[in-house]
């Protein structure tokens, strides 16, 4: 804990993340309205509706609160998949080397060269719309960075005497990988994971803004989508389009702070 | 001892400890005197505090270390200086070759330029002249193909070459006092010999070198200071120390050298945080200790030796 205190940037990131997680968990208690209840449309902020209402008369403040759930869930779930795929490939490539390494590197290079936005859009268009296809679309190219970075770290670790000794002792490969290699990657895994969450949240809000996000479930990007396409900017409804932008920025920043500064805490 | 030469460095009663969860006494009451032209080797095993001593003298320790005692360079108190004054001395007059040949160099700059840099920074030389001088310096250390390799980057060098290039870098600005920390760690026999030759090529250079390699210490130094468990246990002229070691630890250490048949006394050095071993730290391993050894002996002067053992009272 003393280390955390020394690292103010990371602490700030953790506080931001905890705040949003708490809001997501307690959404039912905090939000004043059910965001799907219809009411009087286009109300200005008032004591009843802190951020006014949207085109269908739904309370924007409540929408924002429930939006945390969808945005965080999508972000974290995609990041888990990205980190999992990335680290499995990195372990295989880094530990076995040789042909396995060359194959993984080639696949990573190809995946990196594919323009990710068109591919993501294409996937969304083809897949049945829903949370899981969104997660798939977000993760489809995002794992490359994680795989790359982890692979070189795994290679380094595998050259160290203690892994070599495990091998000569006859310890089984899965045990070496999961007990001896993986735990020594935990710092870098944490930071990559945090950066993946922020990346995924950005992609999700972008997709939702374009109207390709989750229908029915309201994420921040989704709110922004409706705000934009119902001309809130022209109408000067700041309370409608600004909150989702701010929240996305802060949440993404929270994960980035943890991601970038998490690595520095070692020194 | 009456010595007409100038005293360059005087270390008085220097102690270093690290406080916190684990208290560690790293250096305990060390006093040293380095005259102009001296080549002092500080020897001892890993954890004996020799590297910490060097860093403490140069004020390169982290602020968590508690340092007491005094260090003066040509009569000027190093501990009282501001960072700025200190920087003018470190690098210019005193230079330091760190441990581990890997990290001492910037991987993105050509070696020739790195060796030349101190001359540009501290002596105001023109870049071209300084780089020519750098090649000469590399030649003195027999790196081979000096003109070519001066234009190469550190990664193309072997560990031994990098080590010698680092020494060249250390002396390039004409520092009168050169500190080196474990310059032979991880090098093989031939490369240790080349490094020793590099040091010996610096005639008249004042040198303070920390090492755990006894043969290397013997080949480069004029005086040796032996450290054991944070204490300075013996100091003498090199040949005298190797021929006639007085402190039991020095004797045991010399007997354990492969050349002398790898004989040894059982037991291990006490842990850093072991405050239970009062008195002489070598007491528990020493073959000839008495009741008196429960008290820390002072440094006795005997026949050109300084030795911390009650036998010589």
């Amino acid at each position: 804990m003393t280390k955390l205190r020394q690292n103010k940037a990371m602490l700030a990131g953790i506080i931001i993340i905890l705040f949003f997680v708490l809001v997501a968990l307690l959404a039912d208690l905090i939000s004043p309205y059910d965001p799907s209840t219809l009411g009087v449309a286009y109300q200005k902020p008032s004591r009843e509706h802190l951020l006014g209402t949207n085109d269908l008369g739904q309370d924007i403040f409540s929408e924002m609160i429930y939006g945390v759930r969808v945005s965080l869930f999508l972000g974290i779930f995609s990041a888990l998949i990205v980190t999992f795929v990335g680290s499995v490939l990195a372990l295989i490539a880094g530990y076995y080397g040789g042909a396995a390494d060359r194959i993984v590197c080639a696949v990573t290079d190809i995946a990196m060269a594919v323009p990710s936005l068109p591919l993501t859009l294409l996937l969304i268009a083809y897949l049945k719309s829903g949370v899981f296809s969104l997660v798939l679309a977000i993760s489809i190219t995002a794992w490359t960075g994680t795989a790359r970075i982890l692979r070189s770290r795994v290679r380094q670790i595998c050259r160290l005497p203690y892994i070599q000794i495990e091998k000569t002792l006859g310890v089984k490969t899965p045990v070496i990988l999961f007990r001896h290699v993986l735990p020594n990657l935990k710092d870098i895994l944490l930071t990559r994971m945090a950066l993946s969450v922020s990346g995924a949240m950005m992609t999700e809000s972008g997709l939702s803004f374009l109207g390709l996000g989750t229908y029915g479930q309201k994420s921040w990007g989704n709110i922004l989508h409706f705000a934009f396409f119902r001309n809130s900017i022209l109408r000067g409804q700041v309370w409608w389009y600004l909150p989702p932008i701010i929240c996305i920025c802060i949440a993404v920043m929270g994960f980035m702070l943890v991601g970038y500064y998490g690595q520095q805490k070692k020194d | 001892m009456d010595d007409m030469r100038e005293t360059l460095l005087r270390v008085e009663d220097l102690s270093v400890s690290f406080e916190g969860k684990n208290f560690v006494q790293a250096v305990e009451h060390v006093s040293l005197e380095v005259h102009s032209g001296d080549r002092l080797c500080i020897i001892g095993e890993t954890g004996s505090g020799k590297s910490i001593l060097l860093l403490a003298i140069l004020r390169l320790l982290s602020p968590t270390a508690k340092v007491t005692g005094g260090v003066s360079y040509r009569g000027r108190d190093l501990f009282a200086m501001t960072e700025k004054q200190l920087d003018a001395i470190r690098g210019g007059r005193i230079s330091y070759v760190p441990q581990g040949s890997g990290n001492g160099m910037n991987p993105l700059l050509k070696v020739g330029f790195q060796v030349a840099e101190p001359m540009i920074a501290h002596r105001g030389m023109k870049r071209k002249a300084a780089e020519e001088r750098a090649v000469e310096l590399l030649k003195r250390f027999h790196l081979g193909r000096e003109e070519t390799i001066a234009r190469q980057y550190p990664f193309t060098y072997s560990g031994g070459m990098r080590q010698r290039a680092l020494i060249a870098m250390g002396i390039s600005a004409g520092a009168e006092l050169l500190f080196a920390d474990e310059p032979t760690k991880g090098l093989d026999e031939t490369r240790v010999r080349l490094t020793a030759e590099a040091f010996n090529a610096l005639e008249g250079q004042t040198l303070v070198c920390v090492t755990h390699d006894l043969s290397f210490a013997r080949s480069v130094s004029s005086r040796v200071c032996v450290m054991y468990a944070a204490n300075q246990v013996e100091e003498a002229e090199t040949e005298e120390l190797f021929r006639n070691p007085l402190h039991p630890y020095t004797r045991d250490m010399l007997a354990a050298m492969p050349e002398n048949g790898l004989r040894f006394r059982p037991g291990y050095a006490p842990a850093h945080n072991d405050t239970g071993t009062a008195g002489c730290k070598y007491r528990l391993r020493c073959g000839r200790c008495s009741e008196k050894c429960r008290e820390t002996p002072p440094l006795f002067r005997i026949g050109g030796h300084q030795v911390r053992c009650w036998q010589y009272e």
Binding site: L160, P161, Y162, Q164, I165, E166, K167, T168, L169, G170, V171, R179, H180, P183, N184 | G44, E45, T46, G47, T156, S158, G159, G160, K185, G186, L187, D188, E189, T190, R191, H212, L214, D252, M253, A256, M257, P258, E259, G261, L262, R263, F264, R265, P266, G267, Y268
Partner: protein
């Protein structure tokens, strides 16, 4: 003389070199040697001479490009399995990276017991390290809190649990002070007398090799030289 326990026949290893064009670099060229039970064979060479590469091939960490390794007369397939895997062990030069930094000494030391299915208890572990001057309190520490000498003794204790017949000692004392070096060498010597273990002792130090080895082979630029008889009394 009885049969060799470990034999190398024409071992060759090439590495692709990235710096100097596309030419590959031959680290070890057609190396053949035999290690007999109960002897210490010194492999003397400078850094970059290929001595560690040869050693790592012999313990099955690197797959040779050419040549075969025989253990008790049987050719070994890579990766090693069964008895050869248990009975050929290695001790490295750098004790500080010979243990997983995340695990305590207890966790690391338990591993070979588990692999061999031996009973494991506090007493067994304490006995395992007590011969090396380590105490039960050391068991709870992580490698970062132990000195190089302590770690190297623990590393030795750990591989001895496997009751190896061949131990490859890759400069096991070059990072240690002379007294710890003498202690480790002495322990290895006594262990050899007791068990008849064979050592392949890799070193760059002629004076050490002369003290420790029964036979000495020099390796230069990946090629084994004639056995040096005059070095050994």
């Amino acid at each position: 003389m009885n049969e060799a326990i470990l034999e190398a026949c024409g071992l060759t290893k090439r590495f692709r070199s990235k710096e100097e064009g596309k030419r590959s670099f031959t680290a070890v060229k057609k190396a053949s040697l035999s290690l007999f039970p109960g002897e210490t064979l010194g492999l003397l060479g400078e850094s970059g001479s290929g001595k560690s590469t040869l050693g790592q091939m012999l313990v099955g960490l690197i797959r040779p490009d050419e040549g075969t390794i025989l253990f008790r007369g049987q050719p070994l397939a890579y990766p090693f399995k069964g008895a050869p895997r248990e009975k050929i062990q290695i001790l490295f030069q750098h004790p500080e990276v010979s243990f997983n930094p995340q695990l305590t000494l207890r966790q690391s030391l338990s591993e070979p017991f588990r692999i061999r299915g031996l009973p494991l208890s506090d007493g067994v572990l304490a006995e395992c390290i007590s011969r090396f001057g380590l105490y039960p309190e050391h068991l709870e520490r992580r490698p970062g809190a132990l000195s190089g000498g302590e770690l190297q003794r623990a590393a030795l204790a750990r591989i001895l649990v496997m009751e190896p017949e061949v131990i490859l000692l890759d400069e096991p004392t070059s990072m240690l002070d002379v007294i710890t070096q003498a202690q480790i060498v002495d322990f290895l010597r006594r262990y050899q007398e007791e068990r008849g273990t064979s050592y392949l002792f890799i070193t760059h130090s002629t004076s050490l090799a002369r003290q420790v080895c029964h036979r000495i082979v020099r390796i230069r630029a990946g090629e084994l030289q004639e056995e040096e008889k005059e070095l050994v009394p």
